[in-house]
């Protein structure tokens, strides 16, 4: 009865440009406001502020059409098995859950909310006013700053106390610092020019500038509503951050986090349609003073020069639904995954054109990507998470740009890890059953799966320590710990508890550029190119 009444009044509100609201309607609009706020506070960081979905499905009138309100209420109450969806039983009252379900079933996907350069500027928060007061050296014992491994702990609810960036000494496997991020930490980037700074991007598109020496956030800025894209320029002076909502990217001063320029992401897609686009991967390269950014829906890669006016070179027709990428050849070549045509496109960032499109399994998701040098060849490893008959990891010869092998694995995969000193390339099996607990190891030389680790939880995002001696893996949601293995014996050596760990990011990445490459080899092979620098 209550619900029917609400539906009626809401329909009227939507239908009218209400000038003078009668009491009943005023109440309904208050209700709508309340449920919108509940959605923002509990659901939006995964399901999207525009109700268009992000990590989790879109929740709006169209996508929920015909879905039983009881079934939806059950999912909200109890959570959903092998997904990040937590149980809201005890957190939201039953009345609120019921109200939220009817609100969602009536709300259309909203237009992209605006988030302008002024909004970005106003969102800057300063936690440490005078950075000269920060300690000159790490306040904890560590042999090399590259030994730091950062873990994006999402927190069970994607927000709250459990949401933090957690930093670990990868030689002792002890936590050395925790930086609360309010909402789920998603990506951790390190400044290639100054080892003390890390940047943590959350699911609500906030970026925290973190001082690794004192393990605290010094500033933050909100760059949009969601979207994982973030890169740091090789000189450490600029950050480029991209959003799904709204469809833009913003260039920031890496020191102050002040916005410098926004880029509206739109263009003509490979099918000839003019589209407004989500931001895909963003990458700074040791090769040049540029950023590369993928326009997911427009299928374009833009190269932004970090010079007067920040001009953009558009590389079009790269693929349908671009997502993530990795660098090779001193950062000159970019390998970018295209979901919908199941290819990885190789792009030359010097000539700014497509070199070749390579077969990449089924819905390629290369994660951070991996490349290893074996017998003089640079081999790239590509994971893919499509639900196809054939689940393989693709191996490409990155010198010749050709497919070497498609290695059969147990299921869909999301992220490969490799290290110049470690014998195996690790891939996370994410298929939604018992296989989700496992990570498979591919021998670099034989290119065969040689071992399956039962990590527990939803195991994903493997990462090697900077010295290559240890393999870190998130036993993600339902595991609530990071598990550490010896890279050679594959014995379990440590577990580190935290709430819903996801991405793992070694500080060593700034030195080897792409996981699996050795900084020495890079310098040698690429001669006069600057290569990955320390």
């Amino acid at each position: 009865m209550k619900i029917t009444k609400k539906r009626l009044s809401q329909a009227v509100v939507t239908g009218l440009a209400a000038l003078c609201l009668p009491l009943a309607l005023q109440a309904a609009s208050d209700d709508e406001h309340k449920y919108h706020q509940l959605f923002e506070d509990n659901c939006a960081s995964c399901h999207g502020s525009d109700h268009g979905g992000y990590l989790a499905p879109a929740l709006n009138a169209e996508t929920l059409k015909g879905r039983s309100p009881t079934a939806l209420r059950t999912i909200i109450m109890a959570g959903s098995f092998d997904t990040l969806m937590p149980p809201f039983y005890g957190k939201l009252s039953d009345d609120n859950i019921r109200g939220l379900v009817s609100h969602l079933k009536l709300t259309p996907k909203l237009d992209n909310p605006a988030w302008t350069i002024d909004d970005i500027k106003k969102s800057i928060k300063v936690y440490v006013k005078d950075e000269s007061t920060l300690p000159a050296k790490p306040t904890f014992k560590i042999d090399d700053i590259d030994d730091i491994i950062g873990v994006a702990a999402r927190g069970k609810y994607g927000r709250g106390e459990g949401s933090r960036a957690i930093f670990i000494n990868s030689k002792t496997h002890q936590k050395i610092g925790e930086v609360p991020t309010g909402t789920a930490a998603h990506i951790i980037e390190y400044n290639p020019a100054n080892p003390r700074w890390a940047y943590v991007k959350t699911d609500t598109a906030e970026i925290f500038k973190v001082d690794l020496y004192s393990m605290q956030a010094v500033r933050s800025v909100k760059t949009g509503f969601n979207g994982p894209g973030i890169g740091v320029s090789r000189d450490g002076k600029y950050i480029l951050a991209g959003s799904f909502v709204p469809h833009n990217a913003v260039l920031l001063n890496a020191d102050t986090l002040e916005p410098i320029k926004t880029f509206e992401l739109e263009g003509i897609d490979p099918d000839g349609k003019q589209v407004s686009s989500d931001s895909g991967m963003i990458i700074g390269t040791p090769f040049d003073d540029i950023f590369a950014i993928a326009l997911e829906n427009a299928g374009q890669v833009w190269v932004i020069d970090l010079k007067e006016g920040f001009p953009v070179t558009r590389i079009t027709n790269v693929g349908r639904h671009l997502h993530d990428a990795f660098l090779t050849h001193g950062g000159r070549k970019l390998m970018i995954a295209s979901y919908d045509d199941s290819i990885v496109a190789a792009i030359d960032l010097k000539d700014r054109k497509i070199i070749k499109k390579l077969e990449a399994g089924c819905v390629p998701h290369v994660g951070g990507g991996s490349a290893v040098v074996v017998d003089g060849r640079t081999l790239g490893f590509g994971t893919n998470f499509g639900d196809c008959d054939k689940t393989v990891v693709s191996v490409w010869d990155l010198d010749k740009m050709e497919v070497v092998k498609q290695i059969p694995v147990d299921g869909g995969t999301e992220s490969p890890a490799a290290h110049a000193n470690a014998p195996y390339v690790a891939v996370d099996i994410i298929s939604k059953d018992r296989r989700a607990r496992t990570v498979q190891l591919i021998d670099k030389k034989s290119l065969e799966v040689v071992k399956t680790l039962d990590v527990g939880g939803h195991a994903y995002f493997p990462e090697y320590s900077a010295d290559g001696k240890f393999l870190y893996i998130s036993a993600g949601y339902s595991g609530d710990q990071v598990v550490v293995y010896d890279s050679f014996s594959l014995e379990k050596v440590a577990t580190i508890p935290m709430e819903s760990p996801a991405g793992i990011f070694s500080h060593g990445r700034v030195r080897y550029m792409t996981r699996g490459l050795s900084p020495d080899e890079l310098a040698q092979r690429d001669g006069d190119l600057k290569g990955a620098k320390k």
Binding site: I75, F81, G90, G155, G160, G162, G456, G457, D480, E499
Partner: protein, 105 residues
């Protein structure tokens, strides 16, 4: 009756497969069951810092077993726990209790 509860659990997406019954308590099987069925709310070592649910790690195995059986038999009332425990066999309960009781919180 049990079938109905089981079906409703499937709808809630909480149960993915059956563990073969009639073995001694297995911590390993318990770990998997705990991850699939319990950890959403109770976590492994600790529930979420933001969650209103009690921790299970390090609790007495006999207590966990009797509580789960009471929830399953509905001699102890809780809408959500009556449903969830309803999906567990005696063997599951023994395994889960063995697993959680052995964990350090």
């Amino acid at each position: 009756m049990k079938a109905i509860i089981f079906t409703s659990m499937m709808t809630a997406g909480l149960v993915s497969f059956n563990v073969s019954a009639q073995q001694a308590a297995s911590v390993y099987a318990g770990e998997h069951r705990a991850e699939v069925v319990c950890s959403q709310c109770h976590g492994i070592r600790m529930p979420s810092a933001d969650a209103p649910f009690p921790p299970l790690a390090g609790r007495d195995a006999a207590y966990l077993e009797s509580a789960l059986k009471q929830y399953r038999d509905k001699t102890r009332k809780s809408d959500i726990m009556n449903n969830i425990a309803g999906s567990l066999s005696d063997q599951d309960i023994e395994n889960v209790a063995a697993y959680y009781s052995g964990l350090k919180p």
